[in-house]
């Protein structure tokens, strides 16, 4: 009886998450496009719903809501469904939509998408070989096999994003790094941009006029195409010798125009950059801006500390055994001498901590995905990209569950260990540290180079 109640609660919450994923899709991701394939929207929302349900189960675990056995059942079921989606459905549909875009293969879409899916499975399987993630006593088609591989991909993603985010966050928040931009700079750059456009226009006017006169004089091809075309038109138009002057001129002018257009594009991007910096400078003078500036200092210390800890972990080959909650309680009880009910507080504090981690990681991921989507999608590829994002999101959330195990006290870890089987969790943490370190250091290098290069461009007269 209680099982039925528990199941209905779970199902209601899943429907809620599904609705939220649907709304997010409609309002944020696809707000500039028309949704024609509802399959894509459904898959995205379903992935989102099941991922969030996993987090919900963790929270229930901590708060001891619902019956223990029904929790276990839902864990298993949820995990199976998510793996099914991530390994079978989404890759298949990605292959299907890619193939649909290519006109040649349109007739045998299904066949080719199956082929693509088989290729994906092959590489997915091979991924597990170089990593010591499993104890050898598991069979081929067990959950552990699939989860371990999904975990590797997801943890890599998490560490990359986390490393970059840890470095980028103080860089964007702190106003110390803001370049000084005056209105005069912007006006000067705009003037250069318009001058370049003027030059392009005058050259194009010449070209247009040339083409028109040539056309009126009855030239067969009104534009020289390539090297041989140029040679041919010069030699065959010997009688009308004035034409021979036009043809090489056109290619020369075209080259000049191409160079100028490239310059105009760069100037446009630089001007947009200057406007953005100016806005940030103004924002930093407001109250909110000052608050974020302060946070930035805080985050930079946190970032340095994390990099330091990651290095220590790798160098001294240690994986943290106790979670921050128990550690914190130990410290307060032993060193500060404050006595309080350990069990009660540990439950609540870990709930808050885990809750914050979950919420911030979901929110951070959705924002990053949205930005990414706006940057690279077009009306042709939007379906494929959304499905890729759904895949990334699913893998990310599954690996978050793996890693979150570390932040919870021992008694709550058991359910994850039970459900996910005997994975080598320590490996994942080590792998996370390594990739995090690599990502953070390369982001620092990258931002440093980008920052240094920019002022030089503006200092030039």
């Amino acid at each position: 009886m209680s099982f039925l109640i528990d199941s209905s609660i779970m199902i209601t919450s899943q429907i809620l998450f599904f609705g939220f994923g649907w709304l997010f899709f409609m309002r944020q991701l696809f707000k500039d496009y028309e949704v024609r394939q509802y399959v894509v929207q459904v898959i995205f929302s379903v992935t989102f719903a099941f991922s969030c349900t996993m987090f919900e189960l963790i929270i229930f675990e901590i708060l001891k809501v619902l019956n223990s056995s029904s929790r276990y059942f839902h864990w298993k079921m949820n995990l199976c469904v998510i793996l099914l989606i991530l390994v079978f459905m989404v890759p298949f549909y990605i292959g299907y939509f890619i193939v649909s875009n290519i006109r040649l293969l349109h007739k045998q879409r299904l066949l080719f998408s199956c082929l693509l899916w088989l290729t994906f499975m092959y590489f997915f399987w091979k991924l597990g070989d170089p990593f010591p993630i499993l104890s050898p006593k598991h069979g081929i088609l067990s959950i552990e096999q699939l989860i371990s591989r999904v975990g590797v991909i997801g943890v890599t993603l998490m560490a990359l994003l986390s490393g970059f985010g840890a470095v980028n966050c103080p860089y964007t928040y702190m106003s110390y790094f803001l370049r000084n931009v005056t209105d005069a700079d912007i006006v000067a750059l705009e003037r250069r941009l318009l001058q370049t456009m003027d030059m392009i226009i005058s050259k194009k006017k010449r070209m247009a006029m040339t083409r028109r006169t040539m056309f009126q004089k009855g030239e067969v091809h009104n534009k020289p195409s390539g090297f041989w075309g140029m040679i041919k038109s010069v030699t065959t138009s010997a009688p009308g010798s004035e034409n021979a002057h036009f043809v090489p001129d056109l290619t020369l002018i075209q080259q000049e125009v191409d160079a100028l257009e490239e310059l105009s594009r760069q100037l446009f991007l630089e001007t947009a950059d200057l406007y953005a910096t100016k806005e940030r400078i103004e924002y930093s003078k407001t109250f909110k801006g000052k608050y974020f500036n302060f946070l930035g200092y805080f985050f930079s210390i946190y970032c340095v500390w994390k990099i330091f800890m990651a290095t220590i972990n790798i160098v001294f080959d240690r994986v943290g055994k106790t979670d921050p909650v128990t550690r914190g309680i130990e410290i307060t009880v032993n060193y500060l001498g404050i006595q309080f009910d350990v069990k009660f507080w540990s439950q609540h504090i870990s709930f808050i901590l885990v809750g914050i981690i979950i919420v911030t990681s979901i929110r951070g991921l959705l924002i990053t995905l949205t930005k990414f989507f706006y940057a690279i999608s077009s009306s042709k590829s939007s379906n494929v990209i959304v499905l890729l994002l759904a895949q990334i999101m699913g893998m990310y959330f599954v690996s978050s569950v793996l890693l979150i195990r570390m932040s919870m006290p021992l008694e709550y870890r058991t359910i994850i260990t039970e459900v996910l089987g005997e994975l080598q969790f320590n490996f994942y943490h080590r792998w996370f540290d390594v990739i995090f370190l690599v990502s953070a250091l390369s982001s620092i290098l990258f931002l440093y180079l980008a920052h240094k290069q920019a002022p030089e461009k503006h200092m030039a007269p």
Binding site: M197, D198, K205, A208, M209, E261, Y374, S378, K380
Partner: protein
């Protein structure tokens, strides 16, 4: 003599500009960063004794309507002294048509500000367009990708759209030059539009000052009476 083309990313503005200016199909369209320009030679009042030839600059302004405000401010520099506006939308994507309202607001705001007319963002006002002195043209692209059965519904919708803007409309496929072949109704509409732009620019100067039209002589060489290339 300047005309600005506006529309969402990926609707086919660059292909359209190439088709209009060079009578050829663009082989490998790629994304437009910033703004690209092309020039079309147009015969004003073709076939009549008053025929004159003009250069028309088509400024293809890229980007999307939801861009960061820094990109919008940079784009604004291209909207100075615009003589005509071509709004381009994708017939297979309804949202690009809806975004046209926001695009036109973005451009028209530039010229209407001097007269002190305040516009609330996002909402368009028909009177504002009726008052508008700048000629508008609405072009729908990717006509070939609309299935026969849906064509009527799509074309009715776009007709309403053009009416809202008080503008002419043309629907075509940028990969097929026959839509703009000489003598077709599309070519006639296009010609009439360019003629209107030229008239507004050069022949309405005497007497009524059009508010917000800064007198710019920067683009010299706009009027050509006789042509020869030296």
């Amino acid at each position: 003599m300047r005309k600005v083309k506006r529309g969402e990313r990926g609707v086919g503005k660059s292909s359209l500009v190439h088709l209009l200016c060079q009578n050829q199909v663009l082989g490998n369209p790629s994304w437009t960063v910033g703004c690209s320009v092309d020039v079309r030679v147009h015969d004003y009042k073709e076939g009549t004794p008053e025929e004159k030839t003009y250069y028309i600059e088509l400024w293809d302004v890229g980007g999307s309507v939801g861009s960061a405000s820094s990109v919008k401010s940079t784009r604004a520099v291209f909207y100075n002294s615009v003589n005509g506006i071509i709004l381009v939308h994708d017939l297979t994507n309804k949202k690009s048509s809806q975004n046209l309202y926001r695009w036109s607001l973005e451009a028209l705001n530039r010229d209407l500000v001097p007269t002190g007319v305040l516009v609330t963002n996002g909402d368009y006002d028909r009177e504002q367009f009726a008052d508008n002195q700048i000629p508008l043209l609405v072009i729908g692209t990717k006509l070939d990708q609309i299935h026969e059965t849906k064509r009527h519904e799509v074309l009715t919708r776009t007709a309403f759209l053009a009416e809202d803007f008080n503008a002419e409309e043309i629907n075509l496929d940028c990969t097929n030059p026959r839509y703009l072949a000489a003598g077709s109704s599309n070519a006639v509409k296009l010609s009439r539009f360019f003629d209107k732009v030229i008239e507004k620019r050069y022949f309405l100067r005497e007497g009524n000052q059009i508010p917000g039209f800064p007198d710019r002589k920067r683009f010299g060489g706009g009027t050509l009476k006789s042509l020869h290339y030296d």
